[in-house]
């Protein structure tokens, strides 16, 4: 029971510390800004550990963070193999292919209101399709290995990116387009020098949504058939064997990979759309 009380004490102390940090001058520095969420995260882990130990929660229900950490360090080769299969071969290539295809299609249908009006409802329909319906079909078409996972990811990321980019290409102001017209700019000049730059905030919005979908797609698709490795495979088999610590270890890897991908896209966004009011500091 004492572990529980200690955890609660640590939590209260950290809460106080964070409240003080957030109100102090330190919170405006880069370091201070990073510190508050770090303390918060560490506190959650301590509280979790304390709860599990203090209340003697069975590991099958919820393993302690220390147990998960031990599993991670103890099974690095397996976790790496799963990561390479699901993220490096499934999610990332699928994301890149889907984004590239969405970009090409957005430009291709840009001059055709007919195609735009026809394609976007189909896009909404496909986006509404549950992945559990989509994945088995694509696994049947493309086999058990990473190709079918990449295909699921392509389908999942394609439409959110397309819809955002098509909207973004309409985002330039009328006056800015009129200026281009008074200079006698061609369609392609207007596209490259005005409409694409103006569409970038929308594109990155789509890419960020798609990065989350890519991860979910690549993992869940493995539930419907995969080689004997991969993060989705690991989760489904370890759940069956009550190896919850391994399930949580895989989830931790997925969370890290997802945050890294999202963070990378946000960084590029900051660099590309530095001029947008939401990015100016």
């Amino acid at each position: 029971m004492s572990a529980l009380w200690m955890a609660v004490a640590v939590w209260l102390a950290a809460w106080g510390l964070n409240a003080w940090l957030a109100g102090s001058a330190a919170s405006r520095t880069r370091f201070g800004k990073a510190l508050v969420p770090l303390i918060f995260g560490a506190t959650v882990l301590v509280l979790w550990e304390g709860l599990v130990r203090g209340l003697s929660v069975p590991p099958v229900i919820l393993p302690a963070p220390s147990a998960i950490a031990a599993t991670i360090t103890g099974s690095l080769p397996t976790l790496w193999q799963d990561f390479a299969q699901t993220i490096l071969k499934g999610a990332i290539p699928g994301f890149l292919i889907g984004a590239g295809a969405a970009f090409v299609v957005a430009i291709a249908i840009d001059r055709s209101p007919f195609l735009q009006r026809g394609l976007l409802p189909i896009g909404n329909f496909v986006a509404a399709l549950p992945i559990v319906g989509l994945a088995p079909i694509l696994v049947m078409w493309f086999g058990f290995d990473w190709q079918s996972k990449a295909a699921v990811v392509v389908v999942m990321v394609f439409f959110p990116i397309l819809v955002n980019l098509v909207a973004g290409l309409q985002a330039s102001e009328r006056m800015q387009r009129d200026l281009m017209a008074t200079w006698g700019a061609s369609y392609w000049q207007t596209l490259v020098k005005l409409r694409l730059p103006a569409a970038m905030p929308f594109l990155f919005n789509g890419l960020k949504i798609a990065s989350t979908l890519a991860l979910i797609g690549a993992i869940v698709a493995e539930f419907f058939g995969s080689p004997v490795y991969g993060m989705g495979f690991r989760i489904s088999t370890e759940v069956g064997r009550l190896g919850l610590d391994m399930v949580w270890a895989t989830i931790a890897v997925a969370a890290l990979a997802g945050s890294a991908l999202y963070g990378l896209i946000s960084l590029i966004e900051r660099w590309v759309t530095f001029w947008h009011p939401s990015q100016r500091h």
Binding site: M175, Q176, D178, A181, K193
Partner: protein, 265 residues
């Protein structure tokens, strides 16, 4: 109306110009039977209450709107042909600078589109920055500059490619009076230095009289011209010219023209 002894053809000539917008609430007659001749080197102000078609007329000259009747020529060509020949620079009420480009980058943009060489772009950007007194601000981004400076940059952008017609639609309408007075003086100096033909939309009677060689008074519903005043003021205009008898007489005539337009309603 046309001076037959003038060897140069008019820069802009409108005859019986009509422009009707089809809207959800039915047709809107933005311009009705507009006749106007603008000669090379004229400084023409368009004045009138909102909705009288000033913007529409300027946009029609720039081929951004298409007349539904009558004829309109620019340098003897259709407005569309003139646009493709890059006949004019257009300054809108808002600066409309692209936020992802620096001030220099914005001024360079029309030059890139028109295919000027890199060296030529550099020298032109430097020259027009100097002309609008923004040298040293080329590397700034638009949002880092005040509204007045942004509008000066947009004028520099319109000047960079040496179009002989400069169209300005209430360019200083959003700025405070002090900045406005100063920019008006600058525009006048610029006009004297470059000899361009300028079309200038304004709401202010003193501004119109101070700047123009020709004042076009318009009235709304339907948009039409009620008076065209050729200013007898000399080209050289110190600020105190505003107290002269001629200045006050012209201002009076403009005011009468505006009032007459309203009495028709």
């Amino acid at each position: 109306m046309k001076d037959t002894l003038n060897p140069q053809p008019p820069v802009i000539e409108a005859q019986g110009l009509q422009l009707v917008f089809q809207t959800a609430d039915g047709p809107v007659q933005a311009l009705k039977d507009v006749n106007l001749v603008i000669n090379r080197g004229d400084f023409v102000s368009f004045i009138g209450p909102s909705g009288c078609g000033k913007t529409t007329f300027l946009r029609a000259i720039a081929a951004l709107e298409h007349p539904t009747g009558g004829t309109l020529t620019v340098n003897g060509m259709t407005p569309d042909e003139a646009r493709r020949k890059r006949a004019y620079g257009y300054v809108f009420q808002a600066a409309g600078l692209y936020p992802w480009r620096t001030i220099s980058g914005n001024i360079r943009l029309p030059l890139e589109i028109m295919g000027f060489s890199k060296a030529e772009q550099d020298s032109r950007v430097a020259r027009v920055l100097d002309l609008v007194e923004l040298s040293g601000f080329g590397k700034k981004f638009p949002w880092q500059l005040s509204g007045g400076m942004q509008q000066r940059a947009s004028i520099a952008r319109a000047l960079a490619f040496d179009a002989d017609i400069l169209l300005m639609d209430e360019p200083f309408g959003a700025l405070d009076e002090i900045v406005r007075d100063r920019l008006n003086e600058e525009v006048l100096k610029l006009w004297a230095r470059t000899g361009k033909t300028i079309g200038f939309v304004t709401h202010s009677i003193p501004e119109a009289v101070y700047l123009s060689t020709k004042i076009v008074v318009m009235s709304p519903r339907p948009g039409r011209i009620t008076d065209v005043i050729d200013s007898p003021l000399p080209k050289e205009r110190p600020l105190d010219i505003r107290d002269s008898r001629e200045f006050i007489e012209i201002a009076h005539r403009v005011r009468e023209g505006l009032r007459a337009g309203h009495l028709d309603d």
